[in-house]
């Protein structure tokens, strides 16, 4: 066990930061249960009326479905393209390798605003009409670079010797990928896909520039923020928070389970050897 170095000052700063990070969220969730339409103290009574209103609102339900659809497709497209990119680039020895990698690394530094206006201009220029498809494409190119970094780190840890052994035994590339690489990195890839889902589900700035007549949930929240001020926004916000946290918890529990199983496997192998 490493020795700890108690430090009151940095501990105090951390505590303040946690309060700063969570106080606003607590206020939002608390007043989503408010019985009146006031957003500030005093808290006059508990009620679920805002959840009721939000969940029975047709625009919100449609937007929720659109958002789920976009986030699912984005997550799937990111998983496929991002994995292909990270796998190909880690394995190749071609001279263009660095160039390929930069196609996925440079975009990380690009702000969402720039991608949004650039894609909008591109769609306009090419005469492509804006729709949920244009949003999925936008979200996918927005998230792939992040996914790429995560996946590439995991793929880089795989031992080349293992792959060479498989190749020597005559395993073709696809088989090697499926039986040697995939089991090793699948948890990381799925965590990346979950990350893509959550980012897409919450994405506003890029969406704002490339969406047509449909509306995603963040778009609805945005237009409500400009028009109405009542706890219905708190209710939508709280629902989003719970949904995101649930996805995160599932991903966390899954990866913990995989890690435990892997440890048990290793233990079993050791016993076999003995």
């Amino acid at each position: 066990m490493e020795q700890q170095r108690p430090n009151r000052l940095t501990g105090f700063i951390t505590l303040c930061a946690l309060v700063f990070l969570f106080a606003p969220l607590v206020v939002v969730v608390l007043f989503s249960f408010h019985s009146t339409n006031a957003l500030t103290p005093p808290f006059e009574g508990f009620s679920l009326r805002w959840y009721d209103e939000v969940l029975s609102d047709r625009t919100i339900r449609e937007a929720l479905l659109t958002s789920l659809k976009i986030a699912s497709l984005t997550s799937l497209a990111t998983l496929l393209c991002g994995t292909a990119a990270a796998y190909g680039i880690t394995r190749t020895q071609a001279r263009v390798r660095g160039l390929y990698a930069s196609l996925f690394v440079i975009p990380i530094a690009m702000p969402a605003l720039i991608l949004g206006v650039a894609l909008r201009s591109f769609y306009v220029d090419r005469g492509i009409s804006l729709s949920t498809t244009t949003v999925v494409i936008a979200h996918t190119v927005f998230v792939i670079p992040l996914f790429y970094v995560v996946a590439q780190t995991a793929l880089g840890r795989i031992e080349v010797a293992q792959l060479e052994a498989a190749a020597d035994l005559g395993a073709p590339p696809w088989y090697r990928f499926r039986r040697v690489i995939l089991p090793e990195v699948l948890p990381v890839l799925l965590a990346g896909a979950a990350m893509a889902f959550v980012i897409s589900f919450d994405e506003f700035i890029v969406t704002f520039f490339v969406i047509g007549n449909d509306s995603t949930l963040p778009m609805v929240i945005f237009s409500r923020l400009r028009r109405v001020i009542d706890p219905s926004i708190n209710a939508i916000s709280s629902l989003l928070l719970f949904l995101n946290l649930t996805i995160w918890l599932i991903a966390l529990l899954y990866s913990l389970r995989v890690q435990r199983r892997r440890r048990l496997d290793q233990l079993a192998q050791k016993e076999d050897v003995l």
Partner: protein
Amino acid sequence: MKKDLQKRASRVSLLVATPPAVLMLIFFFAPIVVIAIFSFQTGENFVIGEPWTTGNYDSALTLGVNRTMAWNSIVTGFLTAGVTVGLGLPIAHWLRFSAGRWATPVLSLVVASMFAGYLVRIYAWRTILGRNGVLNSALESANVIDEPLEFLIFNRTSVIIAELHLALPFAIVILYAAMRPIRPDLLEAADDLGAGPIVQWTKVVLPLMAAPMASAWMFVFIISSSDFVTPQFLGGPRGQLLGTQINRYFREAGAYGKGGALAIVMILFYALLYVGIQLILRKLKLNRVEWG
């Protein structure tokens, strides 16, 4: 035989990476080229075309409102990034060296706070800082003030507070990840040699953390200075950033040329800033500090 196999595997791998690379070229890089082209063309009201001109750059660089907002963006970005990294560093330090078994739960809380939506945060700060917001009503009911405080919202500070709230978890995670490889022995050695906390920070921690701090700073600078939604709800007339203007050109006025020029100027500024920071790090020999 083996070499052949490797060569083939290398070629197959390149082939696998090609479709996603093409996707990025078409839908990420080509669009940037399109705005670069638009920025040299003329047009209003969602129409753009010839004649070619450099007028968009003239207006981007000289128009009063553009200059004001660009300056606001730079100041807001500098302050937000500075405060965020300044707070993130001691927090990462605490998590790494002092937290013990509290490190995992606290880090999980920090990560969980990332899941609060982007618009949700903006909304939360509006309900807290607003004229009839939580802070004002709390102060009024405690009889500290008679009239609501007007300076809490609709200025640069309220924008920076919301941006800090957005960026701090990212900065903590980046800095903590960078601090993990630093072994506590290093600080113990410093203890043994009689170095106090200030010397330990300036001679041990900061040199090792300079490069990741620069990355975190740049990251926060970019997301906060390019934001246009937070200023829209919290910035008031004096807290608007360059993004506000770019959004106006693209979505409201349909002036793709002028908007494109501003966007290109923004990208170039970020690129220059990045190169500048790297040069400074290299000059100070802090770009690649090794730990034992």
